[in-house]
Amino acid sequence: MAAWLTYPGLKYEMANLSTVRFASFLAWLDSDPVTAAEKYLALRHKLVKVFERTQCGDPENLADEAMDRIAKKLGEGAIHNINSYAYAVAMKISLEIRKASGRFVSIDHNDWQDSLVGDPDPEKRIVDAIRHATSIQCMDRCLKRLPTGDHELLLQYYAGEKQVRIQHRQELAEKRGTSLARLRSEVNTLREKLRGCVHRCLRTNPRVAERI
């Protein structure tokens, strides 16, 4: 049975994790359920970033897979430093996928062009245009779910040009009675929440799903 992580405005599906194992994973992370959920999402975010760079598979799914493996290992009581272990798991998964995929495609291979970055595929360009329009629709839907204060925070945080942004953010942090580091972290969490929402919205949108 799949487990779910519910978090203010969010719902994450755990691919292969039972509810019991998932609950014990969260309890291991922190005794307070809200803090545990925050720690869970923070760790997952780090895994997503690693998989984004290593270019193998869907980073969201791979991060879930990594979290599942970590949870299973936790059940065996064999993890001392969860951060180091999580990174090691991410590297192992990357390696497994890289091994599973082909290493090199010859120029004489008929399909070689498909494998290159910047493929001049006109259909892809049209799909991209549709995808962009759908992204905007999903963004609208997800932004509407945000509390007004969060929407305003994003607006203020990303306002201004490159040169004035740092000073502007410092002032914003002072105005909100917090440090720049905390403000940054708050915005990152908020943005990640929004990103997850848009990602799920796109996955469930049949207009995009049938073309990609």
Partner: protein, 312 residues
């Protein structure tokens, strides 16, 4: 200290760290929440700067070749673009503007409390004229709204047609690039995609073909300001590379050291070279790639790539 962290995050995001440095940095991010937060923040700022056109041409190119290396990262750009669009786009106001609330500011009863009938007649006439004018304005506004809607639909259709025509044009170009008669039996190397209006990128695979029929031929338009060659590697075991470009007769014309390999969306490794096009006058060329093992001098010839340039 802060500068060093930001600099390292920047180099990580742009793919300028070696594999070992990358692994160390990623591990550090797992242990240090602040560092991870700074890195993510910088990544998001880079995405927004790119979308807002705050980068120079060189920075833009660096971002495209160093950061946008995976579908997931390109999706991040898509997400940032959608966010930017919705947060800061003010042009898309509601399509059907409300008519001016002319009747909401009626004169007070005291203002019209005139006893004389001629004055009442005149006032009545004025009121009727005003009502007629307002009705006429409402009709005009309604028509304009319909026309505006039609224009928007036409604009969407026009964009779609333009996209379809562009798609057909691209398909034709791609077909033309697959070996046309009169190209001296040489295989014309496929045009990949211009990263920008003034640049062209080509992919080269290693090897020194024995016959002219298999030499990779690159067509270079005269307007191009920068040529990017992606040299695909069969085996990527060096921490950095040195590339030297020369004519087939052995005259060296360009060299660059300290090159790092990158990975394409399929996990294939390549080294990217940015070459000023004015040194490529046409004819046959050879690029040699030498490898430098970690912490040591360049010592080995790794691979060579032969290609031909045709200017037009």
């Amino acid at each position: 200290m802060g500068d060093t962290r930001e600099d390292k995050s920047m180099r990580y995001l742009l793919g300028k760290l070696s594999e070992q440095e990358t692994a160390e940095f990623q591990a550090q991010c797992f242990d240090d929440d602040d560092l991870f937060s700074e890195m993510v923040n910088l990544e998001n700022d880079l995405l927004h700067s790119y979308i807002r056109g705050e980068f120079s041409t060189a920075e833009r190119q660096e971002f495209e070749t160093g950061y946008l290396i995976s579908p997931a990262r390109r999706w991040n750009l898509e997400f940032a673009r959608a966010l930017e669009h919705r947060l800061f786009e003010t042009g898309e106001t509601p399509v059907s503007p409300e008519p001016e609330p002319l009747l909401t500011h009626r004169p007070t009863r005291a203002g019209l409390a005139v006893q004389s009938w001629p004055v009442r007649l005149v006032a009545g006439a004025i009121a009727l004229t005003a009502i007629a004018a307002i009705s006429w304005l409402a009709v005009i506004i309604g028509r304009l709204n319909v026309e505006l809607g039609q224009l928007k639909t036409q604009q969407v259709e026009s964009r779609r047609t333009q996209q379809e025509l562009q798609a057909q044009l691209d398909t034709l170009r791609a077909h033309q690039g697959e070996g046309v008669p009169g190209s001296y039996g040489r295989r014309q190397f496929p045009y990949v995609q211009p990263p920008g209006p003034d640049t062209m990128a080509f992919n080269l695979t290693p090897g020194l073909p024995r016959s002219a029929g298999t030499i990779q031929q690159l067509i270079l338009p005269s307007r191009v300001l920068l040529v990017t060659l992606k040299l695909y590697l069969e085996d990527d075991k060096y921490s950095s590379y040195r590339a030297s470009l020369g004519t087939i007769e052995g005259k060296q014309i360009w060299r660059k050291t300290g090159l790092k390999s990158q990975m394409d969306s399929q996990g294939h490794r390549f080294v990217s070279l940015e070459i000023p096009p004015d040194i490529l006058n046409g004819g046959d060329y050879l690029v040699k790639l030498d490898g430098a093992p970690q912490g040591r001098e360049v010592e080995e010839i790794v691979v060579a790539y032969r290609f031909s340039i045709a200017r037009h």
